[in-house]
């Protein structure tokens, strides 16, 4: 009967191998562009993305409906991924079941571009698409070896959000223009109103997350990664930059969201627990909806070493290299990132348009809340960390928190994080 077990196992392994071999062969099925007799039956395109607030979802659906109305031969099916977007997307790409067009955060772009799963878009571009209208920094995020793999859908930079009422109370007339002024203001804004020894309002809210900090390193000539894609944030220059938020935190004029019982920077600002935060465009509709009584304004991130700096985050539309409907997929991307489609989407106000002309058309460059953000895009550091972004980001965040809490010197924490990140990258590249 040992034999019977064995027999069964052999059977199972054989069937399993059959299954796997089908799988491996599958990607080679026909790549031919959709049949010509397409006029009678519309083609269904799959568009992959993540969820958002109900109002944003409605707006996005409107944009898609408008596209379908003007392109009657294409239907668009929006496939929302409920959580862990990149994990799900990678699994579907591996199994050749990914949508034709999908959202891609610039942070994840380098590894997908390098792995040849995205369709190069250069051949599709026509002069009337007006590529020069896009912000160069944002386009560069989706370029590798001068091949363009994606077009930025929208973006957001960081700006200083400040509470006007708190400023008035502290007798501060102007938002800080330099980091030194920021620290001096933060000192004056830190308040213990009821004198119980517990601070009720911190001057500055901070997030000890690499995604929000790279521009600080850059201000002194440091960087998060070197040209080879290795972590390099333990440099002297990076250390100086990071000290700009470590010091105020340890001086107790700055706080993190969990220190004051909140889960994000916008929440601590909205509740008046921090008088200033450095946040992005997403905070504007959120604050207006959730805290309608909050008097706030924005300014550009204070200058450091007499240089302007901030972060910019962007999301692009990319095409699956194995899409079976490439011309139609391009039509969709062209519409969504074209002047009309982008204006329709950006009107919602939760993200900034990536085209100059659309920003001007919507008057965002003159909008009192958004002009600081729009101005920041020009000089911002794009949020990208090469081909192994999560190894670098996780190692940094893991150690930086313990440094900011004073459990180990910043220098030691950064060195540990850098070593760990580079060790992981080296192992992955072997």
């Amino acid at each position: 009967m040992v034999y019977r077990d064995l027999q069964f196992f052999v059977l199972m392994i054989v069937s399993f191998l059959c299954v796997m071999s089908c799988q491996v062969r599958m990607p080679q099925i026909d790549w031919t562009i959709s049949p010509l007799g397409q006029s009678d039956r519309p083609i269904t395109l799959k568009l992959g993305g993540w969820g958002s607030s109900p109002s944003e979802q409605r707006l996005f659906q409107t944009v898609l409906t408008t596209f379908e109305a003007t392109h009657p031969h294409i239907r668009v099916k929006f496939e929302t991924v409920a959580d862990q977007y990149m994990d799900v997307l990678k699994t579907r790409l591996i199994g050749d079941a990914a949508p034709d067009v999908f959202f891609l955060d610039s942070f994840e772009a380098p590894s997908l571009m390098a792995n040849q799963v995205l369709e190069p878009l250069n051949a599709y571009l026509t002069p009337d698409f007006d590529l020069a209208d896009f912000e160069t920094t944002l386009l560069a995020a989706f370029q590798q070896d001068s091949i363009l793999y994606g077009l930025p859908k929208d973006c957001s930079s960081l700006a200083l959000f400040y509470n006007k009422q708190a400023f008035a109370e502290a007798g501060i007339a102007q938002p800080p223009a330099t980091w030194d002024e920021l620290l001096a203001d933060a000192q004056r804004l830190t308040r213990d109103r009821d004198q119980n020894g517990k601070i009720d309002q911190y001057g500055l809210g901070i997030l000890p997350d690499l995604a929000r900090l790279v521009y600080l390193m850059r201000a002194f000539g440091g960087a998060a990664i070197d040209p080879q894609g290795k972590a390099t944030f333990a440099s002297e220059a990076a250390l100086k930059g990071l000290n700009l938020i470590v010091q105020p935190y340890q001086d107790r004029i700055a706080a993190r969201p969990p220190d004051v019982g909140t889960s994000s920077g916008t929440e601590m600002f909205g509740q008046g627990k921090a008088a200033m935060v450095i946040e992005g465009n997403w905070a504007i509709p959120f604050l207006q909806e959730t805290f309608p009584a909050l008097p706030f304004a924005t300014a550009e991130v204070p200058r450091i070493q007499d240089q302007s700096g901030t972060m910019v985050y962007t999301v692009g539309y990319v095409m699956n290299r194995r899409s079976q409907h490439k011309p139609e997929a391009w039509e969709l991307i062209r519409y969504l990132t074209g002047k009309t489609g982008m204006a329709l989407w950006a009107k919602g106000g939760s993200a900034l348009p990536s085209r100059h002309s659309v920003a001007q058309q919507l008057h965002y460059d003159r909008d009192p809340l958004r002009s600081a953000l729009v101005a920041g895009i020009q000089y911002a550091t794009p949020w990208q960390l090469g081909q192994y972004p999560t190894a670098i980001m996780n190692s940094f965040n893991n150690q930086f928190i313990s440094a900011i809490l004073g459990e180990q010197p910043l220098r030691q924490a950064l060195q540990r994080a850098e070593d760990s990140a580079n060790q992981q990258i080296q192992a992955a590249e072997q």
Binding site: F8, N115, V117, N394, S402, A427
Partner: protein, 302 residues
């Protein structure tokens, strides 16, 4: 074990349990075979390969290189240490708590239905919401610190102090999984023949003695299950440490767990071969612990 001579415990002559055994097992073998065992075999196969996943799957045989890499990976040893510490505290605590709750709720106290429902609440609340609620409780000026301050105990920065971050997750997990095992114990308590208690009572055994000499031995097989599942579940801790640390395993590796490493290797670095090697190591640890434990909890009367 396969060589054991056939001897039927069922006294009936003429019934071949051989066929019946495989008949009853067939759906399990097929279901697990295709959707669990096959992926595992595939993972074992991958642990000897360097795998390229994106843009067409490709393998390259690398022998034991993935396993050699295990030894050099500091983070793995930190994760193993964290996980082992977590298992050593959470499993006994949740097992004892579950048994105590079940025994109490089965002892004919007033309103036992209400208690049973209240105590089960943590298990049915979804884990994402639970984690959120716990972040609120664990905040610097959250509920837990307020309660601790009230009774004069020291307060902690539960979410970001490396010394207590894992403890916070432990408390949460004991709290939310104990009811699960409580229900299993409750069900098991129903199967203990009442006649055993009656005769013990006649012999003058008090309730503690009855619990000690009847209930506990009768619950042995189920306790084996409860402890084994506790060990498996805690060794595979992932959700909470992922959410609490934002996926980084910080602060200073305090919440890094083995499965978090596996997850990072699979999805973040697309190193499926290496992830499979870690999983292989983890599975061996779990199986060893379970077999030792089976030995401790004694041989069941098969």
């Amino acid at each position: 074990m396969l060589k054991r001579r056939r001897r039927s415990h069922l006294t009936t002559p003429g019934i071949r349990t051989e066929g019946a055994g495989y008949l009853l097992m067939a759906p399990a073998i097929l279901g697990l075979g295709f959707f669990t065992i096959a992926p595992i075999l595939f993972a074992i196969f991958l642990s000897f390969q360097k795998v390229k996943l994106l843009g067409g799957i490709e393998y390259e045989f690398v022998g034991l290189r993935n396993f050699a890499r295990l030894a050099a990976d500091d983070r793995l040893w930190i994760a193993l240490k964290n996980t082992a510490e977590y298992v050593a505290i959470v499993v006994p605590a949740q097992t004892v708590l579950a048994l105590a709750l079940a025994a109490t709720l089965n002892a004919g106290i007033k309103g036992q239905n209400i208690w049973r429902i209240l105590f089960f609440l943590p298990t049915i609340t979804s884990s994402a919401v639970l984690t959120l609620i716990f972040m609120w409780i664990y905040n610097a000026d959250g509920l837990l610190n307020q309660a601790l301050a009230l009774v004069g105990l020291p307060t902690y920065n539960w979410l970001s102090d490396p010394n207590v971050a894992l403890k916070g997750i432990m408390i949460m997990n004991i709290w939310s999984t104990a009811p699960f095992f409580m229900v299993i114990y409750l069900a098991a308590l129903q199967d203990i023949p009442r006649s055993l208690y009656e005769s013990a009572e006649i012999d003058g055994a008090n309730s503690w003695q009855q619990f000690r000499y009847i209930t506990l031995p009768q619950l042995r097989p189920v306790t084996f299950f409860v402890v084994a599942m506790g060990v498996i579940g805690t060794f595979q801790l992932f959700d909470q440490s992922y959410i609490f640390s934002g996926g980084s395993g910080g602060p200073n590796n305090a919440t890094l767990t083995v499965v978090l490493l596996i997850y990072q290797s699979v999805f973040r670095d697309l190193q499926l071969g290496y992830a499979a090697a870690i999983a292989f190591l983890l599975a061996i640890v779990i199986i060893t612990v379970t077999l030792i434990q089976q030995h401790i909890f004694g041989q069941e009367s098969t």
